[in-house]
């Protein structure tokens, strides 16, 4: 690595940067921000916004053979200039600022005064840079150019051509990353507009990333349109639970309502992208039919219980079944639960002498980028904790058979609808005791003798281990509705009732787990941080 470093000076500060790095990234190393619109670290260089201009001097061999520093007579764009040994760069001279002010003035000539109705307002690069390089008053007295304001690009994206600054990030993303060359510019000069090629429109699973990429409000999400102003959103770092990739996300929520999910940088997992399926998979959190109260159902007599009462009754009945004979209880866990929950679930199984347990596999179509066919976010965690059979789901048939034979009398189901997995309503009817931890009503919750309302990924902290064996952390963004509570608290309560008191916080449960589970030995809660830690698992 060291041999590929070059020395250069940025604003008088000597730095070392790897060969091939462009000046925007090199300046970032010393905390200098070079403003830009079209440049994006994960896309090819277009160099068309001219906002990132800097003054550059390079070493030349002088007439006497000694190197002399020669300043480039013209301003150079930083995004397309790579670092060179001995280079000198100035990023904020009066000449540069004047040039950037000129660029901003041209960009704002035809830009509509839309900020009050624009969803991008508050996270708009144009708005931010207008504060730094804009004029207070416009010198433009002519009529502004009119362009179409409400065009649908596919079903998910709304295009406002008046707001577009023609940076072409969306075109490059769709062509190079999403693999669907469908967008382009049409027309010349100030009449240039972004359009789809005839008969084509963005229809991949990654379209909504161009909404994030768009530095202005030209591309907005139909789903998030006019829903909430971004400055009200509380940003919570979390993980996408849609598949086993475990994309890093930010949950945007306001007053206990999740409004949107957006991707978060993690070079090792999802770079800066996430798929649309995962992004739009948040509505169940705000579902008005969410379960809110622990319930018991005895002979069609439904009664709501306090948590203490529910925990006590369940522990009592499970103990009675355990003492009545071997193999009477089976557990069905969920590979959508956090590792800590699965760890406690496994412990509960140990206390009750349960040997028959498994998780329900969920599969779907995969694509070549982020979306995996394994739609459980924590299959690896279920395998590590020993809740899942090998391969996951292979013991479900055994459980179904056991219930059919009358051997299994009690079933504990963690957040799964097991009816499609082969344990039908007729089998559930045979059970003496069915305990279901669930968030939304389903056929299983309808049949359950005890129903415990759980929490979604946005309501709890915990860890997922993704497909590649990376352990990552999520954080609670909103409160659970009513009396619903995170599954780890439910399980810890049951364990305490059965004489195995647990730690009070999730962090200390993780610490206890890290002492027992081999793959997470030595990995501290703080080390996982916001970017996760790669584990050594098979």
């Amino acid at each position: 690595m060291s041999e590929s470093l070059v020395k250069l000076t940025i604003n008088g500060q000597l730095i070392e940067a790897p060969i091939g790095l462009n000046l925007i990234e090199a300046a970032k190393l010393i905390g200098v921000e070079i403003p830009h619109f079209c440049y994006h670290p994960d896309l090819c260089i277009a160099g068309n916004c001219r906002m990132c201009v800097v003054e550059v001097a390079t070493l030349r061999t002088g007439p006497t053979g000694t190197p002399i520093l020669e300043w480039n007579p013209k301003l150079t764009i930083a995004c397309n200039t790579t670092v060179v040994e001995g280079m000198e760069v100035l990023t904020h001279t009066p000449r540069i600022i004047e040039a950037r002010r000129g660029v901003m003035e041209f960009l704002l000539i035809n830009h509509p005064l839309d900020c009050p109705i624009c969803d991008q307002a508050g996270e708009c690069r144009l708005q931010e840079l207008a504060m730094d390089y804009g004029r207070a008053e416009s010198r433009f007295v002519e009529e502004k150019e009119r362009k179409p304001k409400r065009t649908l690009l596919g079903p998910k994206i709304m295009l406002d051509d008046e707001r577009c600054i023609l940076c072409s990030r969306c075109i490059r993303f769709m062509r190079d990353v999403a693999g669907q060359d469908c967008l382009g510019f049409m027309g010349r000069g100030s009449r240039s507009t972004l359009t789809c090629y005839p008969g084509r429109e963005p229809s991949t699973n990654y379209d909504l990333n161009i909404v994030d990429l768009c530095p202005v409000g030209a591309l907005t999400s139909v789903d998030f349109r006019f829903k909430q102003r971004v400055w009200f959103l509380k940003q919570t770092r979390s993980l996408c639970p849609h598949c086993s990739t475990g994309c890093n996300i930010v949950i945007g929520s306001r007053e206990n309502t999740v409004c949107r999910l957006t991707p978060r940088d993690n070079e090792a997992v999802n770079q800066r992208w996430m798929c649309d399926e995962g992004r739009l998979n948040y509505r169940f959190i705000n579902d008005p039919t969410r379960l809110v109260e622990p319930l018991s159902r005895m002979n069609e007599n439904v009664q709501s219980l306090s948590w203490d009462e529910a925990t006590r009754q369940i522990a009592e009945r499970l103990t009675a079944l355990r003492d009545g004979g071997e193999g009477r209880i089976a557990f069905i866990g969920s590979a959508g639960a956090t590792t800590e929950e699965l760890f406690l679930f496994r412990q509960l199984a140990g206390v009750l002498g349960v040997t028959l347990m498994d998780v329900v596999p969920h599969t779907g179509s995969a694509d070549a980028r982020l979306l995996q066919s394994d739609r459980n976010p924590n299959t690896a965690g279920a395998l590590v904790t020993g809740v899942a059979a090998i391969p996951p789901g292979s013991r479900l048939l055994e459980i179904a058979q056991g219930i059919q034979d009358g051997r299994i009398r009690a079933l504990v189901v963690l957040n799964e609808d097991i009816i499609p997995a082969g344990i039908g309503a007729d089998l559930l009817g045979k059970l003496e005791l069915l305990i279901s931890v669930s968030r939304l009503p389903s056929a299983v919750t309808e049949a359950a003798h005890y129903l415990l309302p759980g929490a979604t990924f946005a309501e709890k902290s915990g860890t997922f281990i993704n497909r590649a064996g990376r352990i990552q952390r999520m954080n609670p963004a909103v409160a659970s509705p009513g009396n619903a509570r995170p599954e780890w608290r439910i399980l810890a309560g049951l364990l305490a009732e059965l004489g195995q008191p647990q730690e009070e916080s999730l962090e200390s449960i993780y610490r206890a787990m890290a002492q027992v589970l081999a793959p997470v030995w030595g990995v501290t809660w703080d080390a996982i941080g916001s970017q996760g830690v790669q584990l050594h698992v098979d």
Binding site: C115, P116, I117
Partner: protein, 166 residues
């Protein structure tokens, strides 16, 4: 704490001198200028920049000027304002504006009449009027909704007519 009663002298116990003294004060005030105002029949004159109830206004073409940008909600110190953003009808004269509040709630029990909402509004859609008698019998009635606010606000002159040029 025990408060000891003052010992009354004979002069105090006579009673009549005090009554007459009081009557004299009253009589003295009869020819003087009167300050009492017969509110609510008689309302006080208000200063020019008096800040009363915040209201929503329409422009001279009956268009609801508010576009639900929620800046007033953001700036409101006691969090009295709640804006529920919504869409404008896609056909119709004001379709270009795209956005409007589907509801706009100001909780007058919370409002401190500071006028920051009026100052923050980029559309000149919210104004503090001179009405001040906003009492109600319930807290729910203290919440003014969009219809009521528009009714209170009425029509406001708009020299720029920004959306007309769109």
């Amino acid at each position: 704490m025990i408060v000891e009663r003052p010992k009354l002298t004979i002069w105090d116990r006579l009673y009549m001198p005090q009554i007459l003294k009081g009557m004299w004060i009253t009589l003295k005030h009869i020819p003087m200028k009167r300050f009492t105002r017969q509110y609510p029949e008689e309302t006080p004159p208000l200063p020019k920049r008096y800040r009363g109830v915040p209201t929503l206004v329409r422009d001279p073409e009956q268009r609801v000027k508010c576009v639900a940008c929620q800046l007033c909600e953001f700036v409101c110190p006691p969090r009295a304002i709640t804006v529920i953003p919504g869409f404008r009808a896609e056909t119709g004269p004001d379709a270009k504006v795209e956005k409007e509040p589907s509801d706009f709630i100001i909780d007058m029990a919370r409002c401190i009449y500071c006028g920051l909402c009026e100052e923050a509004c980029p559309e000149e859609a919210i104004f503090l009027k001179k009405d001040y008698a906003m009492a109600s019998y319930t807290r729910e009635q203290m919440k003014l909704h969009k219809e009521k606010l528009l009714e209170l606000g009425g029509i406001h002159e708009d020299r720029i007519c920004k959306w007309k040029k769109k």
